[in-house]
Symmetry: C2
């Protein structure tokens, strides 16, 4: 185990070495966890990663790959020869294999699965029957189970002989066909009679997770349970494994990383993804944005004669659009969060709507006054000042409505509002902003 | 402990009751954790929260307050009479009190502290000497310590008699003046001689956290350690408490929530914050945005005669600005993440810069071709098409540079790039976009 500072300075050292053509690893890296290595790899320009990769012992490779961001893992796997990928079959835990297979092209994945033991193939096969957002795909198989007929003494002897998996705060009791029966905590063991059977003191914890549960809900459940882990069972009540608080933490981090990335109009990508891969992915966001920008341009085009007559309109129109955009994204952000946590429901939507529209109204009036004062000093045209004030208030009110309505509609349609919400919102605030401002000018100003 | 689904449906039921004027709580709520209650309170319109609050037993109140988002806690505390706040002194754990005192006005905080025992006052006082981003303020005091002279047998007896705090995977060994000496895991205890002193088998774990450490670094350290908790010591080597994997999870969630909120140009606020509080906070973001919008307007104002002559410029100019904005925010998002994780350093900045500029160049050329084809069909003005293509490429290249340069500069100045980065970036891409497009038009088109 290395400290945060040790990892940081080892990373910088390795990076400098690689950039000056040397492949060398400081002594402290011998104590690196898979996550430390993943951190290092993600921070190294991608053309230098293979040099470092080749210095790793084979049995370290799979856990490091599994600890990486999806995209970084993807990049690295893409550079490995097929034999190296198939080698991973012998050195990977089931959890790591699922993460690796997830990003492999189908042919490579099939090759890797073929190298597995029949038992391994069964477990992987079962995991892959679950969707990418279901708990069953991410079960932690490193679990300490005890048989219902074991005595307390047996278990204590066993504990003396072996190390417990990380984040183990209880022992899961199963029957001969692996049905989950309950669990015991460690100090229950200590105070029990050594000759008693474990099933006599086992407690059935209500918060058992079902493998078909949503992954984020499962993570919330572990977080709220006060326990380091919860058991995961399948439809038949058989114990598949567990889900630990550390697994939950990883899920939350990935979820938030993706959300932050989407808000920044980028996929959750590798820092040093290849130029063309990166360009291609970002082109999608840019193309969508271009469509919305042309929608706004079309509105301006409708009023081009007004703009030609009163060029101050062209000068001021970005203000109306952008203030609407910000107002809308404020409401949108809150609404998306409320929908994601489940705290926003049919019955409190109206209360949120009332508040958001009032907030937008007050800010609309405030900034309309500020903008119209500045505009009237700048252009000495009182009617123009009134028109921009009017357009600002209208656009900010529309923005508040849209900031709630768009994500709620998307959510009902089964589309993730975090993904599409802000693009649609900006289109609305641009189009409405330009239309109301230029339209009012066309009616009253020329 | 209630399941995720039970909590959700209990929440909806309570919400409906409150909204129809009833105060009633389903039976399942008896098993609610503090976090479940916090979830419920945050989802209830704020004027109805006090009705529910009054139904809670006094000893439940402080943990629920502590589990809430800062802003929600703030709102609720603002509604409580002073006596109720001072009552919290008797019913709160130290961690909960720190969270509560953090958001209280100074006078109320002082009143609350005065009601504490001298010992409690000392601990709280020590916690408050640390900054809001330092670990020392958020130490978890619910820790199982053993004295260096205790025998293994003593400890085992003790374990039989009492429940362990959540997330306890080791017992921390201290001397008579509370200096941290090492720790033992539970199965080390089991296999040791009962008459041996604990200090003989204790291991000094290197990854001890210092109370003056950055809170996010500490959370990273716990996450990477594979342990459920790490000890926290002060400058003198005295054990203050511990920091658990659950504490780390809470820190990450708060951090990401704040980041997502800032990207949406809103503070991390209560879903039902009072209208004026919310309006005031959002006005700040809107005001800053207005400044940048006026900067863009000023640039357009410089070229107003050109725009008056060729009104197609007014129609197309938002496209140049917005494509630059998206390109820049893509690079910005990646750079901010790299700076935050520590994976972006002086020595790999150039590699990132090369890649980002190339990505921007390829996308710039691609979308410049698309836009100029559409523009030439629309306006039948070949020179205009060339000018917009040129402006797009330039603005997208500038955006890539700015997307790296701005956060790196802010970071060196000690300003959080997640907070100010996108506003500055948008100003740059708007100003440069309008200037290059309209400036080139002024030179070549009229």
């Amino acid at each position: 185990m290395v400290s945060y500072e040790q990892r940081e300075s080892a990373f910088l050292w390795i990076l400098d070495q690689l950039q000056s053509g040397e492949v060398a690893v400081p002594l402290v890296a011998r104590d690196f966890s898979a996550e430390d290595w993943a951190f290092v790899f993600e921070g190294i320009p991608s053309d230098l990663r293979m040099d470092l990769w080749d210095t790793l012992a084979d049995e370290r490779k799979a856990p490091i790959l599994a600890a990486m961001r999806d995209d970084s893992r993807n990049q690295l796997l893409g550079r490995l020869p097929t034999e190296d990928i198939e080698l991973l079959a012998n050195t990977s835990s089931t959890e790591d294999l699922v993460e690796i297979i997830d990003v492999l092209p189908r042919k490579l994945a099939a090759g890797l699965i073929k190298k597995l033991s029949p038992q391994g193939r069964d477990v992987i096969g079962a995991a892959l029957t679950y969707d990418e957002d279901q708990l069953g795909r991410y079960v932690n198989y490193d679990v300490y189970t005890v048989d219902r007929s074991d005595t307390i003494g047996d278990i204590l002897d066993d504990l003396r002989a072996q190390e417990l998996p990380d984040y183990t705060d209880s022992f899961l009791v199963v029957d001969e066909s692996q049905h989950y029966l309950g669990q015991v905590d460690i100090n229950q063991l200590l105070s029990a009679d050594e000759d008693a059977k474990v099933i006599e003191i086992a407690e059935y914890v209500e918060q058992v997770l079902n493998a078909d549960m949503d992954l984020l809900d499962a993570s919330d459940a572990v977080k709220g349970s006060g326990r380091s882990m919860l058991p995961v069972i399948n439809k038949d009540g058989r114990l598949l494994g567990r889900f630990s608080i550390k697994d939950a933490l990883d899920v939350f981090q990935e979820y938030y990383d993706a959300q932050v990335s989407h808000m920044g109009k980028v996929s959750d990508e590798d820092l040093f993804a290849p130029v063309f891969t990166s360009a291609r992915r970002r082109a999608v966001w840019l193309g969508i944005n271009l469509l919305t920008a042309f929608a706004a341009s079309a509105v301006i085009g409708v009023f081009d004669q007004v703009v030609a007559q009163v060029v101050a309109l062209a000068v001021l129109m970005p203000i109306v659009a952008s203030m609407g955009g910000i107002t809308g994204s404020q409401t949108l952000t809150l609404t998306i969060r409320g929908l994601a946590t489940g705290q926003l429901a049919q019955s409190n939507l109206r209360a949120l709507g009332n508040k958001e529209v009032l907030v937008a109204f007050f800010n609309g009036v405030l900034w309309a006054i500020v903008v119209s004062v500045i505009a009237s000093i700048w252009f000495d045209n009182p009617l123009l000042s009134i028109i921009i004030a009017f357009a600002l208030v209208i656009n900010m009110l529309v923005a508040a409505f849209a900031g709630i309505g768009i994500p709620v509609l998307l959510d009902r349609m089964g589309i993730d509002p975090a993904l599409a919400g802000s693009v649609i919102l900006t289109t609305v605030t641009d189009v409405v902003g330009f239309f109301v401002f230029l339209g009012a000018a066309a009616l009253f100003l020329v």
